[in-house]
């Protein structure tokens, strides 16, 4: 048991330990490989690597945006339907969607690979984004259903009495109330899609289409001979920076997102 000043010292020491790997990467990414090379040399070599850092960043962004928008739109509509509208097959759809949690997607990657081929979505950023969106559906649906249920029913009734259709009530009144849930889902699916490694490794075959994690993996496995550690660490910084920034700005939502309901044993 640690108390008082000891607690502060322990916390501070551990905090340094947790920050160290991040600081080391940042530092070594800014340290030139050869004498005379300036601090940004690693980043310049990274920018020129393969199809170019810009291409990889764009690919990753496209995949993340597809995943985020598809997840948010489908789970908002689906969550509203689950919470407020009776329709045949509602319970079945809810159960099957939750079952996605029970079936780790790595076990269905092989059939997904074939399926994407049949749909003409192999080696496609859109296809990858769709697969990654599906992985977020259980959490998103659960979150949105609860968000809509938490809104007072009077809100919707008032909108209906004022002449809104059910669709109009959703758009004009309810969406504002479930915004925190939407932000949480968008954040989760963005981070998951941005960082995904196995699915793009398998689904993307064309170097031009690689996302950042896959491109960095190729840089690391040294297809060009020896590993360029400087450029690699610069790549880690580039891929981690948006996630860290997004997390720091939105951490209130993030923390709420995965602690909500965590206590229901």
């Amino acid at each position: 048991m640690i108390r008082g000043a000891g607690r502060h010292v322990t916390s501070a020491a551990l905090a340094v330990l947790f920050l160290l790997p991040l600081l080391w990467t940042l530092y070594s990414s800014l340290t030139g490989r050869q004498a005379g090379e300036s601090g940004t040399g690693n980043y310049r070599r990274l920018a020129d690597y393969g199809s170019g850092l810009g291409t990889y960043l764009l690919n990753t962004t496209v995949v993340a945006l597809v995943a985020v928008s598809v997840t948010v739109v489908t789970t908002t509509l689906g969550g509203y339907a689950m919470a407020r509208l009776a329709f045949p097959g509602r319970n079945l759809l809810f159960l099957v969607t939750l079952a996605i949690l029970m079936v780790p997607y790595t076990t269905i990657l092989v059939p997904l690979y074939l399926l994407l081929g049949w749909l003409g979505l192999q080696n496609s950023l859109i296809g990858l984004g769709l697969v990654l969106a599906v992985l977020q559906l259980p959490f998103g649906l659960f979150m949105m259903r609860n968000s809509f249920e938490a809104l007072p029913i009077e809100l919707e009734e008032a909108a209906l009495i004022d002449g809104c259709s059910a669709g109009g009530a959703l758009w004009r009144v309810l969406l504002r109330g479930v915004l925190p849930g939407i932000v949480t889902i968008a954040l989760f699916s963005f981070l998951a899609a941005w960082n995904e490694f196995v699915a793009p490794l398998i689904f993307l075959t064309d170097g031009e289409k690689f996302t950042l994690p896959v491109a960095l993996f190729n840089l690391q496995s040294g297809s060009l001979g020896s590993v360029d550690f400087g450029a690699l660490q610069a790549g880690v910084v580039v891929s981690a920076l948006p996630c860290v920034a997004v997390f720091l700005v939105l951490q209130r939502y993030y923390v709420r997102g995965f602690t909500s309901g965590a206590l229901k044993g």
């Binding site: 905090a15 689906g78 009776a86 509602r90 029970m102 059910a166 660490q233 860290v244 997004v246 997390f247």
Partner: protein, 308 residues
């Protein structure tokens, strides 16, 4: 996230406002419900239900990556007795056991350290959680640099301590230890947060009562905190077990999926895309999935019983 699993599964009754023309409005809302649920239903059907069925079908077919497939009964399941696969199973189990214990202890320690709001704890919590924002692949590449470059902070410290040149990823044992260290860094803050919410949900009056009864801090920890935290601990354990059993990124990147550190998912990947035998890969997937589902149900029962 996975708390979803343990909560009520049936959707509640729709609460439609009391309508005057009940029949037509109810019909309208039913149609709207179908329309709103359709995009999700299509995604779930196409990218989940169909591949799941396809996997079962593939597992009983000879299915090369290129070329025609043909039924071959349970032949693919012979892959389960392959020595390399059995080795992968053994390594995965070892890794899962070590990770779950180490990660659980560290996360619990961190949660106890920062559970109360004191000056500075908010900052420290954020720092502990920060690695969780970094992707697992990026984390693995970061630590690949830490482990394999002589100029890395880690190897500088090792040199300073007189350990000489440490081969962090040289053998099965050292790779396991190094990877568990990395995973602890990456996930400890995440599990800390889960455990912290559990700790904060414990009624402070119970601690008060224990103190009045003369219990010391150690007794309070063992007799009050831990028993009441069991559902949350079980939840964290489910997450850690499932995550570790399906480990891929960390070993694929750190050791290149070398045979002595190959996990089950790495083995599936190898069967499918290096041996180009999709049928065998599907058979291994089916077996893995069956084990995981049994495990999930067992764990859910455990959580439910302890939670009540």
């Amino acid at each position: 996230m996975v708390s979803v699993l343990s909560s009520r599964v049936s959707a509640p009754e729709a609460t439609a406002p009391e309508p005057r023309r009940r029949g037509s409005i109810a019909r309208g809302r039913r149609r709207l419900g179908i329309a709103y649920a359709t995009p999700m239903a299509v995604l779930v059907a196409v990218f989940f239900v169909v591949p799941l069925g396809l996997m079962l079908w593939m597992s009983v077919n000879h299915w090369p990556l290129v070329g025609a497939s043909a039924p071959n009964g349970v032949e693919n399941f012979a892959a389960l007795s392959d020595p390399l696969f059995l080795r992968a199973v053994g390594f995965t189990l070892k890794y899962t056991a070590v990770t779950t214990v180490v990660l659980g202890l560290v996360a619990f320690g961190l949660a106890l350290l920062v559970q109360h709001d004191r000056p500075g704890t908010g900052f420290v919590r954020t720092v502990f959680f920060l690695p969780s924002a970094v992707g697992l692949a990026s984390t693995s590449l970061l630590f690949y640099g830490l482990f394999t470059t002589d100029s890395s902070a880690l190897n500088q410290v090792a040199g300073f301590l007189g350990l000489g040149r440490v081969d962090w990823l040289g053998s099965e044992g050292s790779s396991l230890g190094s990877t568990v260290g990395m995973i602890t860094w990456r996930f400890a803050g995440f599990y800390m947060l889960i455990l912290m919410t559990g700790l904060q949900a414990i009624d402070p009056e119970l601690y008060e009562a224990a103190r009045i009864d003369g219990a010391n801090r150690r007794q309070i920890l063992w007799r009050v905190t831990l028993p009441l935290l069991r559902p949350t601990l079980a939840l964290a354990m489910v997450l850690s077990l499932t995550g570790s059993l399906l480990a891929f990124d960390q070993f694929f990147i750190l050791t290149g999926g070398r045979h002595d550190t190959a996990t089950v998912v790495i083995d599936i990947y190898r069967e499918a895309f290096l041996s180009q035998d999709l049928g065998r890969a599907a058979a291994v997937s089916v077996a893995t999935l069956a084990v995981l589902i049994v495990l999930n149900f067992a764990q859910l029962r455990l959580i439910r019983r302890e939670g009540r």
